[in-house]
């Protein structure tokens, strides 16, 4: 019976990223390569976080401290990824017909989605594995919506990573320190808000992370050259 739970949560968390992958990434091989490279960068940041967690034993008891250095590691690797991409974009152009240097926002988006997909996979896989089992949350603590809340939060973070990627890369190009601060600050804030889940404040945590997603989406839309009047136009245009 809980197979339904499993598929529901999997579709909720990974349905939208799958749609984005199908229509925006899979159409060009170079984007797939970049996506995988960026996912790999996220993995290295995870590796460093886990090394720190594993070696500094006194800090293992404090979840929030682990969370803070893990966010910093991710942002450092986002920066490194930016550096690598800028260094290689001339070389990449030789491999493909696509104009990497001319479509920097597209590649920032691809890198962001790569980050998001890998973090989402790591966040939800264990939860999904247990969603299959016969039981649901609530015997000791939490409630039966635990799996849905987890999936929704994962989806939010995948999208957040995507848009943070867009904002961060363009902000580094333009030396826009305010936007960089927004990316790091909102990443930290959103991650900290998920700590509320341990106190069963699922609604507060969900609303705050989706609130940040809304603002971040708007900023990323703006950074990518989108305008509100264009938004209206695309409904009018046939």
């Amino acid at each position: 019976m809980t197979v339904m739970d499993f598929f529901g949560c999997a579709l909720l968390a990974f349905g939208p990223p799958l749609a984005m992958f199908t229509f925006t990434i899979a159409i060009e091989p170079i984007r797939i390569i970049t996506l995988i490279a960026s996912a790999f960068f996220w993995l290295i940041s995870l590796l460093l976080s886990s090394i720190v967690w594993y070696t500094i034993i006194p800090l293992q008891g404090y979840l929030s401290i682990g969370l803070i250095y893990s966010v910093f590691f991710q942002e450092i690797f986002r920066f490194l990824l930016y550096k690598v991409l800028r260094k290689t974009e001339k070389g990449l152009e030789k491999l493909t017909t696509a104009h990497v240097a001319d479509s920097r926002d597209v590649f920032a988006y691809v890198c962001g989605l790569g980050f998001g997909l890998m973090s989402g996979a790591f966040a939800l896989t264990n939860v999904l594995a247990d969603a299959m089992g016969p039981g649901t949350m609530g015997l000791h603590q939490g409630n039966e919506y635990f799996f849905l809340v987890s999936a929704a939060t994962t989806l939010c973070f995948i999208l957040l990573h995507t848009f943070w990627g867009v904002i961060f890369f363009s902000a580094l190009d333009n030396r826009n320190w305010f936007q960089i601060a927004w990316v790091i600050g909102s990443h930290m804030f959103a991650s900290c808000m998920t700590l509320l889940n341990s106190y069963d404040h699922h609604a507060a945590s969900l609303f705050s992370v989706y609130g940040i997603l809304l603002v971040t989406t708007a900023v990323a839309f703006n950074v990518a050259g989108g305008r509100v009047q264009n938004l209206l136009q695309c409904f009018i245009k046939q």
């Binding site: 019976m1 809980t2 339904m4 739970d5 598929f7 529901g8 949560c9 579709l11 909720l12 349905g15 939208p16 799958l18 749609a19 984005m20 199908t22 229509f23 925006t24 995870l46 976080s49 886990s50 967690w53 979840l63 682990g66 969370l67 893990s70 926002d105 973090s119 790591f122 966040a123 264990n126 939860v127 247990d130 089992g133 016969p134 039981g135 649901t136 949350m137 609530g138 015997l139 000791h140 603590q141 039966e144 849905l148 809340v149 987890s150 999936a151 994962t154 991650s191 998920t194 889940n197 341990s198 990518a224 050259g225 989108g226 305008r227 264009n230 938004l231 136009q233 695309c234 245009k237």
Partner: protein
């Protein structure tokens, strides 16, 4: 470990729930319940008996049954099935279990025994009203075991567990009250507290097919589905078996008991009383130093008797095949057996002698009758090991000494309640009166046998005090804990004995039963010849027994007590027809794990909601992303 570490780190980034108390989400979803005993599956040649869960575990919503109304509600008004029934002994009977079976709405039965209310029910015996009904020498015409419910002899479609854990029971009750008990008409609309029982049995159908399926030649790495039940019989001849011995009196008792749940087989009233009396008789006779001429006495403890007389039928089969050489290598033949005396269920109260083929004026019989002030029941056939002898030789004189007449006194025959309390004692009360009644039987029988083999009127120096002390030491080993001085003395030095009651269940033939080993060693120690000049190394060199001894310093014993196989002839004879019903064909299924855990079973509504939400979000996002991509040039002014 690596996997766990990864999961932890990833959850730092996306912390969903505090991991202070538990490491895995699994730990928060389930509450394992330990200290449970499971009902398992057994087969005979034609049927299967017992219980099994489904392969992945049987899940049922908890329903506590305390009265008739709860059973009726399950049958008529329940909506959120299947259920797992939680009940105590007052509702655990054949009629109610059959109703559960017929309702097709039950996925498990948990029998609980509250320690707070430790009073035993007035009676509970899962065995047949005629134990071993189909393997006796005659048809059973009256119920020997009137309390027998035959729960053991039924194939249950759901798993059954037993639990005696106050704390776990209160947790189950709390969970039941919190999620299930209120607003029972609308149970199906919410998450419900449920129990998952895992006791999947690999074997099915009957012994014949499960053994055939286990055949080793089919594939290289064979799967075994069931094992024959059996163990070892223990024998001890009073005098050496030489050519002068013309006839033999056999004194026998059974060594095993049975119960519905694995490991919980105390067998106090049904087995231990007779077993201890036999040991005391043998040891006392050894103490009296009877010299044997042409008439010998052989003491035999027979195993697997609760399951269609496995041990005795094998013994008789070996005797008939002239293949029984457990007594010092000397062949014993069936026609050498002069008579058989069985020590059945014993205890306080009046004694009965169930006899067959004995002349009423037989000296030994009349002496026994008068000295034990027992009631004589001629041509009485209680379900006992002598049945196997009578089956082969219907004119063999046999006596069964028991504390029951035509109906068992024991109200808990072959059940998990057949323990010290079932005998009417609490765990710390004195066993004085039981000791006295058993030693009276042992001393009387030993002295009577002494006079029969020596041809004198009795032992010159009887010592009843010796027998009483012996039984007072023996009883706690079998009724309270195996960690007792006699068992320690009978084990190799340094052995750590468990501080618990050893199960009397015969179990599968390929593993040795601890009770059989300890009893055999004990008999060897107390009837064998100590060899004080031999050390541990020299002792094992000569294939003698090295054990701790009564003063725990180590002693080498040259014993005449010996084992013989107690595996049914059905598994020895080539191409034996399992359906013929001649010999015991019991096998026990193999299982992988037995366990139980509590969980919250999600309501169908929540599951539907998450599937619908996931599908809608995924489809909408496909449309939206397609729309944005197709309008990207307009949206981002790139066109």
């Amino acid at each position: 470990m690596k996997y766990l570490k990864c999961s932890r780190i990833s959850l730092y980034i996306l912390t969903l729930v505090s991991f202070v108390a538990a490491n895995r989400i699994k730990d928060m979803l389930y509450m394992p319940i330990s200290g449970v005993a499971a009902c398992f599956r057994r087969h005979n040649g034609t049927h299967q008996f017992g219980c099994s869960s489904s392969k992945s575990g049987s899940i049922g919503v908890i329903h506590i049954v305390e009265n008739e109304g709860d059973v009726q509600w399950l049958e008529t008004n329940s909506t959120a099935g299947p259920y797992t029934i939680v009940l105590s002994f007052n509702m655990f009977n054949m009629e109610i279990l059959k109703r559960f079976k017929n309702s097709n709405n039950v996925n498990g039965v948990l029998l609980t025994d509250s320690t707070r209310n430790s009073e035993h029910p007035s009676s509970y015996s899962p065995d047949d009203s005629c134990p071993n009904r189909y393997s006796g020498s005659k048809l059973c015409d009256k119920p020997w075991n009137p309390y027998g419910s035959s729960i053991l002899l039924e194939d249950w479609p759901f798993p059954m567990f037993y639990m005696k854990d106050e704390e776990a029971l209160s947790k189950i009750k709390l969970c039941y009250l919190k999620y299930n008990a209120h607003n029972r008409e609308k149970q199906a609309e919410r998450s419900l507290c449920a129990l998952e029982m895992k006791s999947f049995m690999f074997a099915a159908l009957n012994s014949e097919s499960c053994i055939r399926r286990s055949t080793y030649s089919i594939n290289f790495n064979p799967d075994v589905f069931c094992d024959p039940l059996g163990d070892r019989n223990i024998h001890w001849p009073v005098g050496p078996m030489n050519d002068d011995v013309k006839s033999v009196i056999m004194v026998i008792a059974k060594l095993d008991a049975n119960s519905l749940y694995e490991k919980l087989v105390p067998g106090a009233g049904s087995t231990v009383t007779g077993l201890v009396t036999l040991l005391a008789t043998a040891i006392y006779l050894h103490y009296l130093n009877a010299t044997v001429s042409d008439k010998n006495i052989v003491f035999s403890l027979l195993n697997g008797e609760s399951l269609d007389y496995i041990g005795s039928s094998r013994l008789v089969y070996d005797l008939k095949q002239e293949n029984f050489r457990a007594l010092g290598g000397k062949l014993l033949k069936l026609d050498q057996i002069n008579s058989v005396i069985e020590l059945g269920q014993l205890g306080k109260g009046p004694l009965y002698l169930h006899t067959n083929n004995f002349n009423a004026d037989d000296a030994m019989l009349s002496n026994l009758q008068s000295k034990l002030s027992a009631k004589l029941l001629e041509n009485s056939n209680p379900p006992a090991s002598v049945q196997s002898f009578l089956k082969e030789n219907s004119s063999l004189p046999v006596i069964v000494i028991a504390n029951h007449g035509t109906e068992f006194v024991n109200k808990y025959y072959n059940s998990l309640l057949d323990d010290l309390e079932g005998l009417g004692y609490s765990s710390n009360s004195s066993l004085k009166d039981l000791t006295l009644s058993l030693s009276r039987v042992a001393a009387t029988l030993a002295e009577e046998l002494y006079s029969v083999v020596t041809g004198t009127s009795g032992p010159p120096q009887p010592n009843h005090r010796f027998v009483e002390d012996l039984i007072a030491e023996l009883l706690p080993c079998y009724l309270t804990s195996a960690l007792c001085s006699l068992f320690s003395a009978a084990s190799p030095p340094g052995t750590k004995l468990p501080d618990q009651l050893l199960p009397m269940y015969v179990s599968v033939a390929r593993s040795d039963n601890p009770v059989t080993t300890l009893t055999g060693q004990l008999l060897a120690l107390l009837t064998g010849e100590p060899q004080p000049e031999l050390g541990a190394a020299a002792c094992s060199e000569r294939h003698l027994l090295w054990m701790a001894g009564l003063n725990a310093s180590g002693v080498c014993i040259n014993a005449t007590a010996n084992y013989s196989a107690a595996v049914s002839p059905a598994f020895v004879i080539d191409d034996y027809d399992m359906k013929s019903g001649v010999y015991s064909t019991w096998t026990e299924s193999v299982w992988q794990s037995l366990g139980m855990r509590m969980l919250l079973k999600p309501s169908a509504a929540t599951e539907r909601f998450s599937l619908i939400l996931g599908s809608v979000v995924a489809s909408v996002s496909f449309i939206l992303v397609w729309f944005v991509t197709s309008r990207a040039d307009v949206l981002f002014n790139t066109g």
